[in-house]
Amino acid sequence: MSLSIPNLAAGTLLLAVTAYSVAGGVDFGAGIWDLIAGAGERGRRARELIDHAMAPVWEVNNVWLAFAIVVCWTAFPPLFQAAFLNLYPLFTLALIGLILRGAFFAFRHIAENPREHRAADLVFGISSVLTPFFFAACLGAIASGRVTTAGPPPSVWEVCISPMSISFGLVSVAATAWSGAMFLVGDARRAAPDLVDYFRGRALWATGILIAVGTVALAAILFERPQLLAAMFTTPALAFVLAVMVLTPAAAILIWRGIFRWYRLLTVAGVGSLVVAWGFAQAPYLLPGRLTIDQAASSQPALILVLAVAAAVVLVVGPAFGLLVYLDQRTALESPES
């Protein structure tokens, strides 16, 4: 693929979606483990660690999502229109999950009695599962080729509910749980050494589930849109598919053997490759078989502005975000006594 301006803009959109999948995914994953941590003392300790790990970066993650949305409607307005005309139920459910999650994460800090606290934990946890599911289901529905540009579909549900949308949703939940557990191992090593094995075990289980669900998703693609599967196994998407297949078990093996180096980087690269593999397999189509990048692209000046903003994000926000993560990971932002 050439480095044309529309392609670069599409790359920006893909990177924003990838960044949200990676950064937001770790957060959603932590919420999933929060949900199934159980009520007892160990569950309480795990929740405390999850809170501790999530608080500083939560808001920043949401920004990636808003950015992806804005890039989509600015650079590829017809894609945005078609996606929302066809998939509004899925987007709405994801959105409601997102709001409830944010609100109840905050609420559990001010809940005063155990019952309130339990209710807040529950809403937070369930919405942490539903939100990544429905967002990824949107991508699955797009990838399945059911989203059309010619006005609203006769039945929205036929577009929204398909083997691919459901399996993309499940892969997303499994991948977020996996990356969440991987990062919680690291957080436990810093803040709660007694929980390292707890999250290690969960990370290993999650690896198995992710591989199983991923295989099911490949079958769903084969069933519903074999062209996409074929594209996934040709360059350039193939490189990223192989990366997922190598990095996922590699990260798990490191954790399993107790080698606490590189595993977070491998996790990020694994989840990132998963999203990028889909993007490249679908290119040059934004809506498979119906709308290409060039057909949907806005006029050049608007794309250049989007690229300029993206460059500014990389140049200005990148280092600032790096500083935040550095300070966060080095616990420089906390007091020694906490």
């Binding site: 809170d51 600015t74 017809p78 945005f80 929302f84 709405t92 609203p152 608007a302 994000v313 926000v317």
Partner: protein
Amino acid sequence: MLLDAEPALLPSRILMAFTLGSHILLVPLGVALPTFTLIMEGIGIFRKDATAIKIARRWSVVMAVQFAVGAVTGTILSFEFGILWPKMLGRYGAAFGLGFSIEGLGFFLEAIFISIYLYGWRRLPPRLHFLAGLALPPAGLLGAFGVLAANSWMNTPGGVTIEPNGALDIDVWAALFTRALTYEFWHFTVAIYLTAGFVVASIYAVAWLRGRRDHYQRLGFAVPFTVAAALAPVEVLVGDLSARALTTDQPAKFAAMEVTWRTQAYNPEVIGGLMDPSGNVHLGIPVPWLDSLLVGYSPTTVIRGLSSFAADARPSTVEANLTHLAFDLMVGLGTAAALLTVWYFWTLIRRHRLPDSRWFYRMAALAGVGAYISVEAGWVTTEVGRQPWIVYGAMRVSDAVTNAPATFVWTLLATLVVVYAVIAAFFVTLLLRLAARWRREDLATAGGVEAPEEGVPYGPPR
């Protein structure tokens, strides 16, 4: 009649109005509170004033919690553009999105630096902490600029040409800096600082009324109130310029604001009142010639009336009345605020001290609420006054609305009303608990006191 054609139109408009009207309440503190916090921290650092540092630290907590709520309600809005108005974005997304792309950059910077600022109180050296905070005001203004550029584009669209093949050609500069941006930007930016100042000061005005008269209360009141008081007269001028510009940029909106039905010279300024469908205004207080005088400095200035526009190109009677009353409310409250600041500066300059009249502090306490009301009123004026257009003169709201069934949008509306009520309850509960905790700490002796930002949602852990 439009309602029959587009069943989802009514709930979509209500939903958009509800969520935007909620979000806009978070904007003044979201954008301007960092500035006040930095002024306070600066006072603390350079005058070695521990009380000022304490206030700054507490404000930074409110700032962060507010920002978290605003991030959620703002993200909802970006989705609503797709869920409710997909055809507007499909047609004009490239132009409308320019400002929002820039806003995205500001949003990123704010999110990161708020985290660093809040978490850095304990571990960063004071001056470095202050420097990190200096990124916040420009980031907030960049965000405000982006959103206002997008809104201005909807009011005075420019920089777009439709090519023969139907594609949209964009001139980025012209689409970002449309005519309305000149006044919208200054009018709203000043309003943001003004509102934040009055709102924050109102908390300390209430403290004064409850008998608190110490350095903490004086500082917390004087810094934001002085800034707001200096800006209130500026806002009256900027507002006047904005209204006058509408006579050429959006004459139908101006006619609705003034409930002017017939095009005429010697046009009265009607205060209050309601217009009936045939253009007669009831219950209002007309001030003869004043509207013509204000617009053109001469009673002979001709003001274009609503009846000169086609019925499908001007606000309906209900919309015109809403625009008119909202406009009057905003102007009335703004004028009241300007008068209050005259009282403030009079005492400050003539007596070299803060006012000590109970009535002054009662008014100052109300100014916080009043400022929020006038922000809402101003927003209603500009949005309802633009009807029936979503993009002024180019696309009607009814042509932009989703094809989703009306029941779907009604359901979403009901859900979001409940969810927003829950969020608002959490938010208020949290602020009240923080206030109570801080009051307890101020009454208790020093030592063993928690840092303000500890144990707050999205704040550092205890």
